[in-house]
């Protein structure tokens, strides 16, 4: 533990980054994936949990998290740097690794303190995996229309000791691997929209939960349908207020749109680096590489400004829809560049490396869909940032 800074608060980020990378260099072999590419989803999940365990043991995982949940304090940017270093070195998939950033803050901000103190360290250390039960078959972009119902087991909602959940979630990433789920439920009238939603922290081994993985177009089963059939949850697992679930869902945005994006950006630079190493050296290739690099730079510059604003003001709002459009567009441009620079790789290459490029290319097609479609982001930009009024 001695080599890890106490909190990082007294250090600038540059020395912290240097120290972190030196440590990662020194532990390169221990951290390296145990499987040869592409690896199955099980391999990737196991690798991520193993890496988290090693980083937790050495004290890195706790940096940037509050002490009351077992963290070691310091700026949240410390954990952003850690996530980016992990992604930039291909030690864990950033899409999976950065789930910590959308799940742990929810518990810290909305769970009873004792619960948060008990479970957050288990997420950080890789002892547990959690998922996010938001989307439903009929509630995608229109999340406020969700219908998965939670009702008091008996009596008045404010005093009920237990809640009973019935309904279905979909696109729940890693549900089949997860120990817990941050779940949004309908507790108000059917048409109560965002005013009648309540969040719960549900153990995935509770009787009545069925997980049915869905195969994505790249062959992997990253997400699943989750069915809730009379699932009983204690009232002390409620996150935030009764009918205050929308605030819980929205509170995730600043993390999802700052540190998660920074990790994604590190990963995209890594991909561009890999393709630059092997791409043909002619002007057509140079134009393709240059264009992708330009977009990644603009995205990174924007994301840095966003994170500095978060650090200064403690909050982010609708302006992060711009970051979301930029990250989605840059990701697709990067993989389009790969396809154009390495003809035949994505289409025909059956080697391990080819499988990885193909899988990632196909996954990148969803970048303008998940986390709020690009159309929804444009709607938000138009209404909230350009103040164009209602579109109704």
């Amino acid at each position: 533990m001695g080599q890890v800074p106490d909190s990082g608060a007294s250090l600038g980020l540059a020395p912290y980054r240097a120290e972190l990378h030196a440590w990662l260099d020194a532990h390169r072999e221990e951290l390296a994936p145990r499987f040869s590419p592409p690896g199955t989803l099980d391999d990737h999940v196991a690798q991520m949990q193993r890496v988290k365990g090693i980083l937790f043991e050495a004290g890195w995982m706790q940096l940037g998290w509050p002490e009351r949940v077992g963290g070691r304090g310091g700026s949240p940017m410390l954990r952003t740097e850690l996530g980016a270093a992990i992604a930039g070195r291909d030690l864990a998939d950033p899409g999976l690794f950065s789930l910590i950033e959308v799940l742990a803050p929810t518990l810290i901000d909305f769970a009873p303190p004792a619960l948060a103190a008990e479970v957050v360290p288990r997420l950080l250390s890789g002892a547990e995996l959690w998922c996010q039960g938001f989307s439903e078959p009929d509630s995608g972009s229109d999340l406020a229309s969700l219908r998965c119902r939670a009702a008091p087991e008996a009596g008045d909602a404010r005093e009920a000791p237990r809640w009973v959940i019935n309904g279905q979630k979909v696109w729940t990433s890693l549900a089949q691997f997860s120990d817990r789920c941050v779940l949004l439920t309908r507790t108000g009238p059917t048409d109560s929209r965002h005013r009648g939603i309540t969040a719960f922290f549900v153990d995935m081994d509770t009787p009545g939960i069925t997980v049915a993985p869905l195969e994505m177009l790249n062959g992997e089963q990253e997400f699943a349908e989750v069915f809730f059939d009379d699932v009983v949850v204690p009232a002390d697992r409620m996150l935030g207020e009764l009918n205050g679930g929308w605030a819980v869902a929205m509170s995730i945005l600043p993390y999802e749109r700052s540190s998660c994006f920074w990790q994604r950006i590190a990963y995209l630079y890594r991909r561009l680096q890999q393709v630059v190493e092997v791409a043909p050296d002619h002007d057509r290739a140079a134009e393709i590489v240059g264009e992708a690099y330009l977009q990644l730079h603009a995205l990174r510059a924007r994301s840095r400004a966003t994170q500095h604003r978060l650090a200064e003001t403690g909050t982010l709002g609708a302006e992060t829809s711009i970051d979301k459009v930029l990250v989605a567009t840059a990701e697709q441009t990067t993989y389009d560049a790969v396809r154009r620079l390495l003809p035949g790789t994505i289409e025909l290459d059956d080697s391990g490396a080819g499988e990885v490029w193909r899988s990632d290319y196909l996954y990148s097609r969803a970048a303008t869909i998940y986390g709020g479609t690009i159309e929804v982001q444009r709607n938000i930009i138009a209404r909230r940032l350009l103040e164009l009024g209602s579109d109704a």
């Binding site: 134009e287 690099y293 459009v325 164009l388």
Partner: protein, 325 residues
């Protein structure tokens, strides 16, 4: 060091003074005089980052014409700017030193701002990017031709020099690079100012223009075009902030390239939203469109910069990140 409040107040002053001059004198207003009165040369010397950001953003937003770019280049190569010293800018889309010295002859070709019409001397950087030299020739030795082109109001001049080589001094390679970098940031700020203004013109039109019984701002197709325009403008502004916080030739080059892409995206969407009225001479949109077309080629177009950057990435087999948290 200027704090945020002072910067905002200075920006408001500059914008106000330019607007006032344009309202009084139209396109004939002498914006250089306005800038001189505001202390432009002193601010450029003391706080070049703020000076460039504030002045060029304001020029772009007002579609005003000035010759301040000459001062940016002169001061960046370590010389004292003077109102009667014009600069030979590289040819359209290029950024290498525009002059060549061959034995006793100087040959140079490029562009200049309107200052070339009144200056006594022309500063010419010669040689290669790695071994530049700097000299001055009497303006009488240069053939200066006003460019009408797409934007006659931009005041650009086409310049050709064929003269006996003047005394030249060695310029450090870094001096020319930093002049190019600073000039790129200046032009990119101007494009950013113009792009924001194009977006504002289209936005207010969309809110006022009624078709099918409602403002066209309610139509999602219109909203999404304006949203994409804002995304482009904000990305450009972020790269300009990055070029300021991490000043080097690469961040400046990318900011200039993003400016070119942004101007194109914003103009395309805004022109479409403005539709018929934006296609007339009477509406101000066309002036911004034309100005950004003219500015796009100064110190390297987006296409040329992207190609150059891509070639270097492939030559070095590296794609490094340029900004850190």
């Amino acid at each position: 060091m200027i704090d945020a409040d002072e910067r905002a107040s200075m920006a408001a002053t500059v914008r106000g003074a330019i607007a006032h001059a344009l309202a009084a004198g139209g396109q004939d207003a002498d914006i250089d005089v306005v800038l001189a009165k505001l202390g432009w040369p002193e601010i450029l010397a003391d706080e070049p980052d703020d000076a460039i950001d504030i002045v060029f953003s304001a020029l772009g937003a007002a579609n005003a014409t000035a010759t301040a770019l000459d001062d940016v280049v002169v001061s960046a190569i370590g010389q004292q700017p003077r109102a009667d010293l014009a600069v030979l800018l590289p040819p359209f889309t290029a950024w290498g030193p525009p002059g060549r010295i061959d034995a006793d002859d100087l040959r140079a070709q490029g562009l200049a701002t309107g200052r070339a019409a009144t200056a006594r001397e022309l500063l010419v950087v010669c040689g290669t990017e790695s071994e530049p030299r700097c000299g001055r020739v009497p303006i009488a030795d240069a053939e200066v031709q006003a460019v009408r082109g797409v934007d006659p109001d931009a005041g650009l001049r086409a310049v050709r020099v064929q003269a006996r080589a003047p005394d030249t001094s060695v310029l450090e390679a870094a001096a020319w690079q930093s002049a190019v970098a600073l000039a790129r940031r200046a032009v990119a700020h101007q494009i950013a100012g113009a792009s924001r203004e194009m977006l504002e013109l289209a936005r207010s039109h969309a809110l006022e223009r009624v078709q099918f019984g409602r403002p066209i701002a309610r139509f999602q197709a219109v909203r999404h075009r304006l949203a994409d325009a804002l995304v482009a403008v904000e990305a450009l502004e972020a790269t300009l902030t990055a070029a300021r916080e991490d000043p080097n030739p690469d961040t400046a080059a990318l900011a200039k390239a993003v400016a070119g892409r942004t101007a194109h995206t914003v103009a395309r969407h805004c022109q479409q939203v403005l539709a018929g009225i934006g296609f007339t001479s009477e509406h101000p949109f066309q002036r911004f469109l034309k100005r950004t077309l003219a500015l796009e080629g100064l110190f390297g177009s987006a296409d040329e910069i992207v190609l150059d950057v891509g070639r270097r990435l492939l030559a070095e087999r590296r794609a490094p990140t340029l900004v850190e948290l």
